[in-house]
Assembly symmetry: C2
Homo-oligomer: 327 residues x 2
């Protein structure tokens, strides 16, 4: 990458040019060497910028179908009215194969389409989790550098993604579905332990009383496991647009208090330090997989494990040998 | 490694020579290149051996202090009486810094010391989780190849280790402490979802009724989240040696049913395939960290993140550059 190309894109990006931001994000999601080099340079600058250091990053997690996209749509529309310029991102490890992400993006578009006050970026369709999470972190920084804040990051409740969103986010919102019981299975339980704000979604119409029951049940569970520090549980409805202001006020109060106390930055730094080794592993994975031969070797190895043709040590050796050859 | 050195050690190992097994495990835990090459060769052979394909691997998890070591000690003594030759391993990512592991090992020694019918291997003191889990997998295979079965693998309830034991184990036993509530925090909640057998430990003397209460509470929680498939919860006491036979019968029945149905091997293969990518990442980490300069670079990077001297993108670049230099 020529320094001047990065310089020029950076200048346009910090002026808030949407095309420059889109181009930077495309580079961050790319596996082409020149794109990655450009993205790395921009992300390094972004991480040092005052705009990024000020911008709140809010993660939203919860079981599939709870209505995260719709809520983010509604919340973002309200944030624009309040004078904010939110960015809406998604970590969706399944987006390559499932239609869920597309549907979510369409729903979002309904209110935010053509609105210059927000920046919406669907999940990268990288297909492997590590890459998606790593480039979402970079995208979050680039959006904040371009003047978008808060950065709202939606995660699909699959596997590790909830944990990874907690690496990226200053604050995590957990959305619950009315009628707990069965959905408990969908929520990775560790999430209950670190969620800063918890809300039952779809608390409207006939579902309202079920939502209230769920709120009471989770308040009990939270106070059991977290004692005096347990957050009380809110009720929100994207349909009736109820509870949205309370939700934002709760998040804003929590984050503003940390800024005031001087702990916002130190907590972010500690989170960066704590997540460094897993992040490094994700980077190693990304570098490792930025090679189509290695990717197909991985897939064949998994197939061979399933049939019993290869044992686990053989499969590991087989794939790692490709690294040594091409490292 | 000369092929003949591996051949000779392998011959002695499959004859069940304890010294050969100990030497193979030491090689597996080592970061020296020649040791690693020897261990890899032996582990590859082990993975193909009929003894390993037959040997049950049982993971034991639960909150710190629940008495996993003591229970494994008691259970192993009983297994020896029944004609088995159990191996007892531990994944303890904290063993470098805490004294917990040492204490556990001493407790175990009380019944198994000098007993040739069991093979006890304390946790490797590698210090980083990935290495410990990876070499525990190799150790499990080596023990089984040397004729020890079942292979009992204890995990300390910290961070990811419960999840990792589920990669290694055909069956997972979750031990609970009498008086749930507070301990809920200690259990990684995902564990409740995949535990095959659940037991309340220390169900003796004055704690018996509290243990019964805990059993009832967890049976309710399990049936809430797992419905008809929820295991009922056993009561065990290492002190009074009660419930030990029932516990073993439960585990044996579950595993024997899978063998009979022909699903034991296919489940293990599917587990291998599912855990392949995270295992590959652990291997990448191990290869990456098998270098003291990179290890100290990692530590400095974490320190610099905490003080704010480096940003996360800078720290990642800094450490990854060391890989490129030495890859």
């Amino acid at each position: 990458v020529s320094a001047s190309a990065a310089d020029e894109l950076w200048e346009r990006l910090v002026r808030g040019e949407r095309a420059a931001l889109a181009r930077a994000i495309t580079a961050a999601e790319s596996s082409r060497d020149d794109h990655r080099a450009l993205a790395s340079e921009l992300v390094r600058r972004a991480a040092r910028s005052a705009a990024v250091q000020r911008a709140w990053r809010i993660g939203v997690t919860g079981p599939p179908g709870v209505g995260k996209s719709t809520l983010l749509d509604t919340l973002s529309a309200r944030l624009i009215e309040l004078g904010h310029r939110p960015a809406i991102l998604a970590i969706d490890p399944s987006s390559r194969s499932s239609g869920g992400s597309l549907l979510g993006d369409q729903a979002r578009m309904s209110q935010l389409l053509g609105n210059d006050g927000a920046f919406v970026r669907p999940s990268p369709t990288r297909g492997h989790l590590g890459g998606a999470a790593a480039s979402t972190y970079e995208t979050a920084l680039l959006c904040a550098a371009a003047g978008y804040a808060p950065v709202l990051i939606e995660t699909v409740g699959v596997g590790q993604s909830e944990v990874e969103v907690s690496y990226l986010a200053d604050l995590t919102l957990l959305l619950l579905q009315p009628g707990a019981g069965d959905e408990l299975q969908g929520i990775k339980r560790g999430v209950l332990e670190y969620a800063d704000v918890v809300a039952v979604a779809q608390a409207d119409g006939a579902r309202r009383s079920l939502a209230e029951e769920t709120r009471d049940r989770f308040e009990q569970a939270l106070s059991l496991s977290r004692g005096g520090n347990a957050p009380n549980v809110l009720l929100v409805s994207s349909l009736e647009k109820s509870g949205i202001d309370e939700l934002w006020q709760r998040m804003e109060a929590e984050l503003a208090a940390r800024v005031q106390a001087g702990t916002f930055t130190s907590q972010r730094r500690e989170r960066d330090a704590r997540s460094f080794r897993p992040r490094l592993l994700l980077e190693l994975e990304r570098v490792f997989l930025a090679n189509s031969e290695r990717q197909s070797a991985l897939q064949s190895a998994e197939d061979a494990l399933t049939t019993g043709e290869l044992t686990l040590p053989e499969a590991l050796e087989h794939v790692l040998a490709q690294w040594t050859l091409r490292g």
